[in-house]
């Protein structure tokens, strides 16, 4: 019971401090579930993002459900997902009733301008750490650059980029195993 409560509290906190989409959540998730609690490794967290790209639904929900399930089964999945959703539900319901006054407040606007810059900086920070760990050979480097080019200039959807990268890696792995056997 206590484990479930702390799972709930953890994901409630993550939901409360995520501004933007699932990617904006990555720095906070890495800090909490990888660095502090060691529920998953860096690699597993990225794998969850890959799965999230190719499965229906919102990435942050997918990640919360997966980690909750891994920790405490179906109960854990439900608790973690409720935790991450609840702050939005409460805040948006409140904001919806006073929308215009809220957005027109000058200081609220200033604070959010600062927060948006911070989200960009947090993403840059976490990318640097993860790239150092996960881009260690030429194949990984080429996939990274290829995926970046395809998403910036190719306008290709994330699903396709993930599927192409996985397909290339599978093919290269198969070929190199056959070469080694000979």
């Amino acid at each position: 019971m206590r484990d479930l409560l702390s799972l709930f509290a953890l994901f409630f906190k993550i939901g409360l401090f995520t501004f933007g989409g699932g990617y904006a959540m990555l720095p906070l998730l890495k800090d909490e579930v990888v660095n502090k609690r060691r529920f998953v490794s860096d690699e597993e967290l990225l794998d969850l993002y890959s799965i999230g790209q190719c499965t229906p639904g919102i990435i942050s929900i997918n990640v919360a459900t997966f980690i909750g399930y891994q920790q405490k089964g179906i109960g854990g999945a439900v608790v973690a997902t409720s935790g991450i959703v609840l702050p939005s539900l409460i805040i948006i319901t409140l904001v919806a009733s006073i929308l215009q006054q809220f957005m027109d407040n000058r200081y609220v606007a200033y604070a959010f301008a600062g927060i948006r810059i911070c989200v960009a900086a947090l993403i840059a920070d976490v990318i640097y750490d993860l790239a150092k760990k996960n881009i260690k050979n030429y194949m990984a480097g080429i996939i990274f650059i290829g995926a970046l080019v395809l998403s910036v200039w190719g306008n290709l959807s994330a699903v396709w980029i993930v599927l192409i990268a996985g397909g290339c890696a599978l093919a290269i792995g198969e070929v190199s195993r056959k070469v080694k056997k000979r």
Binding site: G15, G21, D31, L46, I58, V159, I164
Partner: protein, 172 residues
């Protein structure tokens, strides 16, 4: 009856919107045409609010749309419906992952996908930066924040607080 339609429409969005939170936007524009729950102008305001309030954008959008259509219970219904497909599918995948994690082909595929996902995250970061960093003052704040992160490695929550204060102080 409106609760049934809210549930049905947002369940479909939860099932069909593959990828990040903003993927739900085109589906919501369809809803604006199909029902009188909210107008397209309201939807644009909604996107701005969802982007700048805590929580995943997709969930915020569902809560907002549901609330607009049918009050508090509308918000709860739409959010629950949006989340349900993800939860069911992820529990199934979590079970399969435990089984296949050690398979060498699955291992190869995941190794190859990780750098691609990093590139996607970087792309998302660039899009955020384009909106957030519009002048030299913003570049300065960005540099200060990034330097603090690289030196101290504290919780992101602390930096978000610092950034909000900087935003008010510098009138960004």
């Amino acid at each position: 009856m409106i609760y049934f339609w809210l549930f049905w429409e947002f369940f479909k969005i939860g099932l069909l919107a593959i990828g990040g939170g903003l993927v739900t936007v085109p589906f919501l524009f369809d809803l604006a045409e199909k029902y009188d729950w909210f107008s397209k102008a309201e939807l644009t305001d909604m996107i701005a609010v969802s982007e700048s309030t805590p929580g995943p954008i997709g969930v915020n959008m569902a809560t907002f749309a549901g609330f607009n259509a049918a009050g508090i219970w509308g918000g709860i219904t739409a959010t629950f419906a949006l989340v349900l497909p993800s939860v069911v599918i992820m529990i199934i995948i979590a079970r399969m992952m435990q089984k296949y994690r050690c398979n060498i082909r699955v291992h190869d595929i995941l190794d190859g996908i990780r750098p691609a996902v990093l590139a996607l995250i970087l792309f998302a970061g660039i899009q955020v930066a384009k909106i957030a960093i519009v002048g030299s003052l913003e570049i300065l704040v960005f540099a200060i924040l990034l330097a603090m992160m690289r030196i101290w490695h504290k919780s992101p929550i602390l930096y978000l607080g610092v950034a909000a204060v900087l935003g008010i102080v510098f009138r960004l």
